[in-house]
Amino acid sequence: MFDKPRLSLVATIIAMIVQWLLAWFWVPVDDAQGDVYRIIYLHVPAAFAAFTSAFVLAVASILALRSPNSSKLDLSKAATEVGLVFTILTLATGSIWGKPTWGTWWTWDARLTTTFLLALMYGGWLLLHNAIPEGPSRVRSCSILGLMIAVDVPIIYKSVTWWRTLHQPQTILRSGGSTMDGDMLALLLSGIAIMVIVCLSMIFVRRQNIRLQESLEEKSLRGVV
């Protein structure tokens, strides 16, 4: 009934639920923010998953650009769709976190603006993919846009260091060590690891879906089905 990727996806989702229970009931409260900070255990992993999708998209785009005539965009499309979902999740959880702590749902600082741009570009990729008929021309255009999307990720990541922002700077990967208590940091890192695996599994399953769909469409066009 379940094939291997689906089974591992189910296993990871169970791990994610355990992670959330720990985030709700086990990890200590933050002194300055109170319970509301617990959304970090969804917000930061979702952001890392959105970045992972962009990385997969970049690799798929480079591979596709090397042989545009024989390449398909199934992996790129799967990564873009999953990336868009996680970027929207990042923006939504960030907004819900921002209202009680910062006092605003949204502000156009560099971190938020570049993340919004990522969501727009993921959406733009899907539009572009729909707008061009299948062929090497679509492979080229979509792959170049895919690489541009990947370029936005390090800009998002460094935005809090390069520019003055309302968003606080990096907590984990910073010179001088993390600024988070041990228990909190351990749970956040495991949350990131789990979400990245969930993200990769989703991309894998979605890619299988796209391939199935394409082969079915092809068969129906030829009148086999």
Partner: protein, 155 residues
């Protein structure tokens, strides 16, 4: 077919170059997300007719809150001697307190000494600690570093 995809590529590359150059020139120099108190004061005369954002630390002891009138008054500082008095109508965010980092959006007076706030936002540090395990010094230091990044004038 070939020329069409080449046109697409050229178009996308031009857009990419445009976006990156706008990002690098506009965001880093001309358009800052918020001014530090000394920058705002230095340019107060030309900025006084626009909506601007100023970031600073809430000076301890300066907060006056009249709950019935929803009237909030406090002073922000860059901790190097530049201070601006802020007047805000409305309840402050939950994390607002003395010694906290804030970004105030509003209109500054010509002399740069006071500001009418239309939007008050809290800027917190990237420190996460369980209760009773920190002195607050690191948090303050991190906040200062992030708030007064690339400040033009020194004390």
């Amino acid at each position: 077919m070939k020329s069409k995809s080449t046109k697409w590529m050229i178009g996308i590359v031009i857009i990419a170059v445009a976006i990156i150059s706008i990002a690098l020139t506009q965001l880093s120099s001309n358009v800052v997300y918020f001014f530090t108190p000394d920058e705002a004061q230095a340019k107060a005369a030309e900025l006084s007719d626009q909506n601007i954002k100023v970031g600073g630390m809430v000076v301890p002891g300066s907060v006056e809150w009249t709950a019935e009138a929803l009237d909030l008054a406090f002073t922000i500082s860059d901790l190097k001697g530049h201070e601006i008095k802020i007047r805000h109508k409305g309840t402050p965010p939950d994390m607002f307190k003395e010694g906290q980092g804030v970004v105030v959006e509003g209109i500054i007076t010509n002399d740069g000494k006071s500001m009418t706030s239309r939007k008050l936002m809290v800027k917190h540090s990237e420190e996460y600690k369980k209760p009773g395990s920190h002195s607050g010094d690191l948090s303050k230091e991190l906040l200062e570093k992030s708030l007064f990044k690339d400040q033009t004038s020194k004390p």
